[in-house]
Symmetry: C2
Subunit: 492 residues, 2 copies
Amino acid sequence: MASSPETLHDRLGELSDLGAAGALVGWDRETVMPPGGAEGHGEILATLERLAHERLADPGLGRLLEAATQAGGQDAAIARVVRRDHDRATRIPAELTAEIARTTAAALPAWMEARRDADFARFRPHLERQVELARAVAACFPEAAHPYDALLEDYEPGATTAQLRTVFAQLEAGLVPLVEAIAARPAPAPLPGPFPEAAQRVLALEVAAAMGFDAEHWRMDDAVHPFASSITPSDVRVTSRWDEQDLSGLLAVMHEVGHGLYEAGVDPALARTTLGSGVSMGIHESQSRLWENQVGRSLPFWRHWHPRARELFPSLAGLSAEDLHRALNVVHPTLIRVEADEATYSLHVILRFELEVALVEGTLAVADLPAAWNDRMRELLGIEVPDDAHGCLQDVHWAHGSIGYFPTYALGNVVAAQLWEAARRDLPGLDDALAAGDCAPLLGWLREHVHRHGRLLDPPDLVERAAGGPLDPAPLLAYLEDKYGALYGLPR
Amino acid sequence: MASSPETLHDRLGELSDLGAAGALVGWDRETVMPPGGAEGHGEILATLERLAHERLADPGLGRLLEAATQAGGQDAAIARVVRRDHDRATRIPAELTAEIARTTAAALPAWMEARRDADFARFRPHLERQVELARAVAACFPEAAHPYDALLEDYEPGATTAQLRTVFAQLEAGLVPLVEAIAARPAPAPLPGPFPEAAQRVLALEVAAAMGFDAEHWRMDDAVHPFASSITPSDVRVTSRWDEQDLSGLLAVMHEVGHGLYEAGVDPALARTTLGSGVSMGIHESQSRLWENQVGRSLPFWRHWHPRARELFPSLAGLSAEDLHRALNVVHPTLIRVEADEATYSLHVILRFELEVALVEGTLAVADLPAAWNDRMRELLGIEVPDDAHGCLQDVHWAHGSIGYFPTYALGNVVAAQLWEAARRDLPGLDDALAAGDCAPLLGWLREHVHRHGRLLDPPDLVERAAGGPLDPAPLLAYLEDKYGALYGLPR
């Protein structure tokens, strides 16, 4: 090969650019690509990922990281994080990565057919292979206290199986009785529709603008599965989909803009260092969830926005902010994770976490997964799974080989509540600001305590500094108990 | 660096994917990118280009090309073309390429200001540097018969300065009296507008669909400067802009779809070999020009489309196909190349070619360029240049360091007419087909004789085989004399 860039920053700039190119190809595929482009986009993405992996694993990068660590200062702090990426790229053999890619390519269509026909047997051998490969990845890190820790590291640096077990046990202990108590109360009426797509778009763009979306640096498009993607911190793209029966499109936009604000708010000094993005899936999800739930499903928020909503949706005539707030906070156990409400969502995640850990440990066989799933659904949410399409076949993650991802969804809920509690402590006027349509104080707080750090602080360190303590499910439980206690008139 | 792909096809696949990623980033920049993304997109593109250059110049690729050449067969044919790219990448020093990029980065804003203020002095030092660097590039190829030949090679493999001088002299000898004769006749009335943008879009998409645009593999967007870009042969993107005073938006779409059909029509066996695209700028321009002019400005085409145009544009009520045809073929010498009609366009190009050659030879100093430009405009088109913004500052190419590009525009006109003559010979029913709205016979002929070859045949070889003879301006002159002779009632 011809000469590689000589300095650490040139190397990291190159890696960042490859990542940004991949992000753009991925965004394009989900939004504007003509369908015929799918195969080509797949090949482009594979090549960009291979090149990035090659560069990341390069021994020359290792030497530059060593030198930066010796030299100290900001570059040493950057090198600490990149070193971890480099070690990971070095320790997982290229052949194993390639085998996971091949397995995934076969598993995805098999999973789609299996889900369509509620036929777990069709997916079973593919999942067995993915679990086997996940264990092979874990085996590359024999120093891990638990093999699942090595998988978690990809999505949530610093998280451990032991810690998650503790946190999730506390969460389960609080959530199960809360959901049961709510289920015993009469359900509020849903919002009267319709909510025409065009009017939802108008409202969503106005809300997004109030949050911090600006047309100079952002864009919004439609996608089958809403997502956010920042090509660079100055080019942030969110997507949504629209259901005319409810306001889920608006809340999806708030969720995705929450992700986007995180990426847009990273310290510009971290641009093109590979540290200029969110630090983990869990912290990312804390940002999207906080805007979607703590803000978008709050009464102060709707005090400001309900006149505008009534202007745009004639079906809301006569409804108060309180009515809107109540209707957007219906709690109802469901079979499907992505349709779950704020109170039940984490229970879906806890179930998946437990099953994943057992699969990786080898204490649960893939063949026994459907029964184990259905049993836990009964225990956690009190509902019966009619078939595997509505049970263990519902999510794409396992077909994708993404084992270790699920817990980050619940971590996002936990951390969002911790941050929300801290922000309310620091900003006594926060409710009044939101009720006046002013999101700037909250955004400023999140920028200062979360966004600007990019990947420079590991998640445990970030939570400790921003929330004033370690990962803790108590604020989430207190927030949900307060909110639903008031809404459903539960005994305290 | 870690291991590179082992086989020639893997290497070429990687190079193709890097090119496709760059094409997508470039398309995004001109169509959907939020303005704040410009700097990041520039960095991504620079990295992708640097990586592609590094891979192209790699000695390992040289060895694989050598082996493929020895082995013979289709791979040897592919290796012949790639070898030329490899040699070029190897012979131009990386430092010279970087210096051209730096010079261009400074020259572009200086050119914009100079053009805005019609102040050539501000651009002069930048152009002097670009000419110097172009001569340095040419000096890397001392075997070239003329230094300008080495520059042409980037845009039009196989073309020579000597040949272009001959062809352009013949063209000038035919075009100047033709344009003079037309100018002596009364000008036809322009089309009565307005042509609302929405209706132009409808017509343009219907015409594009008749040409071969299908939504499964193509998309159409707006852009400030219309262009076509194929990410892969299955993902082709065209752009247009709209002027409600005329039908230029429709003709721009036909032009860009002409480019797109070329890329979409390459033999799939050449996909991901770096040969799966158009062979030169001149041959590419022959495809766009043929659809725009020989088809889109022809009477048979309008026989089919004029009822639909009258439906969409009430201002055309009462106009016949002949009226439309006449109004779309007004000839009028203009100062600005991009506004030039079919008869005068090549004269603008001949002027630029001559001046570029003189600059590279050193027989014209940059300081004397404005006067030389203005003199030739008077001789070729009989018009006075009021200031340099309407003269030698009008085009971006020289600020861009793209010296050797201009002649390909006129080559496109020449080759389009040669292909058109050959296609009409082979397809006696071509006019009737077009008059019935059927573009398939023409597209089939172009696929067979031009598109499918991709970069496998060099332009001279392709023209020889497709048109039955070498590059020849006679068919273009005969076509223009026939067309305008009839339209303007010129003496034969």
